[in-house]
Amino acid sequence: MYIWEAVKVAIDSILSNKLRAFLTMLGIIIGIASVITIVSLGAGGQKAILGEFEKIGVNVFSIKTRNDVEIRDSDRLTIRDVEMIRKRLSSVKYAAPIAEKMGLAKTDKVTKRALFIATDFDYGNVSNLKVIYGRFLNEKDILLGRNVILIDKESAKELFGYEDCVGKSIKIGSYSSFDTAKIIGVIDSGNLKSLGGSIADQIPVIAAIPITYAQKIFPDVNISQIYVMTYNQNQLDETSSQAVRLIESLHHNKDKYKTENLISFLEEFNRILGIFTAVIGAIAGISLLVGGIGIMNIMLVSVTERTREIGIRKAIGARQKDILTQFLIEAVTISLIGGAIGVFLGYILANIVGPFIDITPVFSINTILIAFLFSTAVGIFFGIYPAQKAAKLDPIVALRYE
């Protein structure tokens, strides 16, 4: 029998029992729809996160003091460490110290909390920081410990009423003492502050100042980490350990420092994503299993109902293979239609849910193909037994069946 004829017979049979066919498909529909929804949202999330990572650059690592051992003052990272890393390690392209300090920033009218990132001229190169007005810190700023500052554009608007406030002065400091700094640049604050409402008020001014200036006005400021960028991504591991050894020799200590990079971050991220995918796979598997059992059940009913039809077909010349094909195609058709509805539903669902969790779903042809492949496999696997049962019916017995 031609495959297409069998497909027509299958569709006729499904159409003559619409509700029953729909209920049979439900397991497959739910399984495929949930997989498509979650996988496309997962892929969308992954794409967004990878995009962020790539902006920063993947050949960057950071050195920090370990937080699981005792750290003495002599162990703390210094500006000299940064200079030595730049000077001694040939694979290092840029290196920048980071010290973070909470304080206040005020103009004549407004006072706001501020997060000061004390660093040096290389910071702009190792981070994804964007200067939109003015310039970033330069070598002289660091050398002389100049009282210069960059603030984010949202804060600039709040403090001055407009974004381009280069050349203005601002008072910064902790609660008792303040110093006047000159604004040399405005940085893009990203989408952190675009949230609006009361949350925006909680977000402090983000400000970058020279590390040497910070040491003048904040006596207790400490370098929390050093960002290092290598020339190549494959230099990361070796340079990391070289840098640690260098700092250890400068401080005459051991096992006080650790390094982190985005590659290990990415690996961790991918590992979590892998677990996530496996869990989804298991859920989908169970759902498809239930769906498949539903198909097998309904196909067995169908074979019994159509015993006489099978007898007639055999009497006029259908071979076992023809009957087998017919019922198998019917099972596969049911599961494929279920799969198609599932893909469609998953697409709709992902697009509805996506905006709520701020993810643009990504649909890949592969996911959809795999969904159809799985539906077909379920149809064949659970359809083969009923189809064999039909194919093996004795024509005389089948013809007598009422």
């Binding site: 003559s16 006489r308 007898g311 077909r313 006029i316 259908a318 071979r319």
Partner: protein, 230 residues
Amino acid sequence: MIELSKVKKVYNLGKTQVDALKDVSLKIDKGEYVAIVGPSGSGKSTLMNIIGLLDKPTSGSYKLNGTEVSTLSDDQLAYLRNRQIGFVFQSFNLLSKLNALANVELPMLYAKIPSKERRQRALRALEIVGLSERIHHKPNELSGGQQQRVAIARAIVMNPSFLLADEPTGNLDTASSVEIMKIFYQLNESGTTIVMVTHEQDIANHAKRIVRLRDGNIIQDTLVPNRITY
């Protein structure tokens, strides 16, 4: 040509055995019109099923057009049923979901005949049985006589060597029965070999030859002296 020699059929019904056919030898030539008659339980349906390749004899030999068929596989038998034999049943046995035309096309589907040719041949077969209208109707929209004519069209569409009819008029009124017998007569006149099981004497009298069965044996095999013709 059908050649049965010393055919025996035993059914195992649990502990007891039933000899449906005891020792049947029968030869039917091309172009014949044979009625198999006998009371119920005489074995005429069993004989029909064996001739129609739906069942296999327990022992003995059956040659269809010279080929020994008692040793063939199920699929080989299906092939022969498709090409050599056309069935007409008492209860028509049309597929209820298909219309008349599609029912007639069905055997050609299993012979892998292209759809265009299928349609042409089905239309011709329906014309032969006098049913050129209502061919797009489903069986339940047709009268009994019309349904049986569709069934005959389906049986002859593959140009089989034999037309086997099992009580073809059993579910029909007299007028329809006459119509069906007229079609059989014309088919036989144009060369189709017909073997028909019936328990009605006046239907049997349409045949050229009557084979009478009782208790699994042929008790009489005679030509019909005054057969009904049209």
